[in-house]
């Protein structure tokens, strides 16, 4: 609705813009008035860049995402198909140790492990992202409603969160996937997402409540700002920082959870490659073909570690107390 803007009130006297005010106060000189305004986000980014571990995490995440996204373009051609097998050749190509032909070796089904790890990264990152997306959507809505409306809504939502938090995470994820009938990635997303929302809701609620105490929120209300404006312009942007950290860490946790479920045979189903599934297959080859166990494990470890380090770095970078 494009309403014609009203005239700015009280435009009584034409005051020279930019010139000295009628009160004859010259603008104050500010020592650091050189250069453009430094945004908080810019500051955070600068602090993040100084944290070597966090940068390493970021780079690793980026590499993994890149590999996962671009996999279809080159992996099957150069490394071998992660799923398809030529059964007449398979026996002779089975369980090859790492070599120039197969950088990380082959599995029992003669498939290239490097290829499967890259496709496994795709599954892991997808599960991580979607599951965290689901928990963010539910958690944000629940948290915002609880914090902003308070009262009975707050009680109901927080009790519900308590109920979900009372369930041990791994156990309940396994039970939930078991009930829903394992084998579908959707169920894995849903289970992890459904179990993760209380954490998000709690943090966001706490964060909103804390931000709401700031006087600039009062200031906006005193100006007559509407509730959505206050929520989206003032509260959300300032309350989101801890969530960014939590969500980053949660991706790591979700990847671990997916790996555990796949390891137990309830996650991503073979022949689709997944890291947990590969480890499950590797169990019998701890001595005869240790590379089966080593590389997918390293894949999980490094990727989750990357998210953890990134989360750590973000926490430090976004911590307002650490400014100055």
């Amino acid at each position: 609705m494009a309403e014609a803007p009203e005239q700015i009130p009280g435009e009584r006297s034409a005051r020279g813009a930019g010139t000295d005010s009628s009160m004859g106060r010259p603008p104050l000189s500010i020592a650091e008035s050189v250069g453009k305004g430094r945004t908080l986000r810019g500051d955070a980014w600068r602090r993040l860049r100084k944290n070597r571990l966090a940068v390493a995490g970021l780079v690793w995440v980026a590499i993994m995402v890149l590999l996962a996204v671009s996999a279809d373009l080159w992996v099957p051609r150069y490394l071998g198909d992660p799923v398809d097998i030529d059964t007449t050749q398979a026996a002779s190509q089975s369980l090859q140790p790492p070599s120039w032909d197969h950088l990380l070796g082959t599995d029992r089904m003669s498939r290239d492990i490097a290829s499967r790890i890259i496709y496994g990264a795709r599954a892991s990152l997808l599960v991580g992202a979607v599951a965290v997306g689901i928990m963010l959507v539910i958690g944000l809505v629940m948290g915002a409603v609880a914090a902003y409306y308070g009262g009975i809504w707050d009680s109901i939502i927080m009790r519900a969160a308590d109920i979900f938090l009372a369930f041990p995470y791994v156990l309940f994820a396994i039970v939930l996937v078991g009930v829903m009938g394992g084998g579908s990635p959707t169920n894995v997303f849903l289970a992890i997402g459904l179990l993760g929302w209380p954490g998000i809701a709690r943090i966001f609620r706490g964060s909103v409540l804390a931000v709401r105490e700031n006087e600039y929120v009062d200031a906006a209300r005193a100006m007559g700002a509407s509730t959505p404006r206050i929520l989206f312009r003032h509260i959300m942007p300032n309350a989101i920082a801890p969530l960014v950290v939590y969500a980053t860490m949660s991706i790591g946790v979700a990847i671990l959870a997916e790996a555990a479920l796949s390891f137990l045979g309830m996650g991503v189903q073979p022949p689709a490659p997944s890291w947990g599934g590969m480890l499950s297959e590797a169990r019998g080859y701890l001595f005869t073909a240790p590379w089966l166990m080593v590389y997918p494990g390293i894949g999980i470890l490094t990727t989750v570690l990357a998210f953890v380090l990134l989360g750590d770095g973000l926490r430090d970078a976004l911590d307002v107390r650490k400014k100055e």
Binding site: M23, D218, G224
Partner: protein, 360 residues
């Protein structure tokens, strides 16, 4: 002519949660209890008192940041407490707020320009360019460079931020501004700059201020009339001159006496009243006169039994003390030496003369 702002019997209760699931066990704190005053067009009314006396709550109730429990607030004859929707927004355009903490009152993720333009955006004034123009002008008015429009609050000192806070409150050309301790977070030299700025802006724009502060000197400097609050009540209300030079309420007098002056010679010569004990817990205010537990002259049962009403003691000068007239000011006055003899360390048990006084 009616006053610009008329407050009558304003009361604000806070519930302090203790209940398990239901809130029926909650306690009530009477933060503001039956407060009445008026603010005339163009004047500055000071609201002064110690922490927890309800002065800020009063300011927030007037601006509808808090909903009053009862009482009447009229602005230009309109009942403010009934305003809803658009009319509330119009009211808020007319009555602006300046906050105490220049760090917390500016959204750290918005530039000065965005912060200042926000009132215009909310009320739908001007085009983007016009708004920017206006922000630049207003930055100049409060003594900052117009180039700062793209800068963020964290790059600036408290004083500079407070200028932006003031500029923001002026964007809509309000009729009245509620200033909630606008200078108490600032250093002396900066405080003086801001006080002068407020002074000048009032003249320039014909503003009316409700000025809330705990610093007696600042209030005396900037206000035309002063209301002294204690435990949610106004205990004395009058012109600046009258209240400061001839206070009628023992609390006002104690307060003035307790605040030292930056002049050693004068300070040595001043008489001192050292009040006993602490301010009682507002959840359990004393009966009768709320000040009687600490009052240097409360010697009569009436003090603990009957609540003194705000009575006129001179033209435009009211006070809420049973003995405001019976005791000349000097009679209630004690030197510090006297205080020691009577009660060496200020009587911390808080039960003077066996009067009750349930505080802890």
């Amino acid at each position: 002519m009616a006053a610009l702002l008329q407050v009558e019997g304003l009361t604000k209760h806070f519930r302090v949660g203790q209940g398990v699931i239901l809130s029926h066990m909650n306690k009530t704190v009477k933060a503001v209890d039956d407060v009445s005053f008026a603010v005339e067009q163009g004047e500055t009314l000071g609201l002064v008192g110690e922490s927890g006396c309800g002065k800020s709550t009063t300011g927030r109730c007037i601006n509808r940041l808090l909903e009053a429990t009862s009482g009447k607030i009229e602005f230009e004859g309109v009942d403010v407490r009934r305003l809803r929707g658009k009319r509330l927004r119009v009211y808020r355009r007319d009555v602006q707020f300046i906050f105490q903490d220049p760090y917390a009152s500016l959204n750290p993720r918005m530039t000065f320009g965005e912060i200042m333009a926000e009132p215009l955006v909310i009320h739908g004034f001007g085009t983007r360019r016009e708004r920017e123009q206006r922000c630049k002008e207003m930055l100049a008015v409060v003594g900052l460079s117009p180039e700062h429009i793209h800068r963020y609050p964290h790059e600036f000192s408290g004083g500079q931020r407070q200028r932006v806070g003031i500029a923001r409150s002026l964007m809509l050309r309000p009729k009245m501004i509620v200033c909630d301790e606008p200078v108490s977070a600032l250093d002396v030299s900066i405080q003086a700059q801001i006080i002068n700025l407020l002074d000048e802006l009032q003249k320039e724009f014909g503003l009316t201020y409700l000025f809330i502060a705990h610093d007696l000197a600042v209030v005396r400097h900037i206000c035309d009339r002063v209301a002294v609050m204690y435990l949610g009540k106004i205990v004395e209300l009058g012109g600046r001159q009258e209240v400061y030079s001839s206070p009628h309420h023992p609390y006002t007098e104690s307060l003035l006496s307790a605040a030292p002056v930056p002049d050693p010679q004068k300070q040595r010569a001043r008489s001192r009243i050292i009040l006993r004990g602490d301010v009682p817990d507002p959840m359990y205010p004393p009966t009768g006169c709320r000040f009687h537990t600490r009052c240097p002259i409360a010697r009569f049962p009436i003090c603990s039994e009957e609540e003194p009403p705000l009575r006129s003691v001179a033209s435009g000068h009211e006070t809420a003390c049973h003995f405001a007239k019976a005791f000349p000011i000097s009679a209630g006055r004690m030197t510090s030496g006297d205080a020691h003899q009577q009660d060496p360390f200020g009587g911390f048990d808080g039960r003077p003369g066996g009067n009750l006084g349930d505080f802890s």
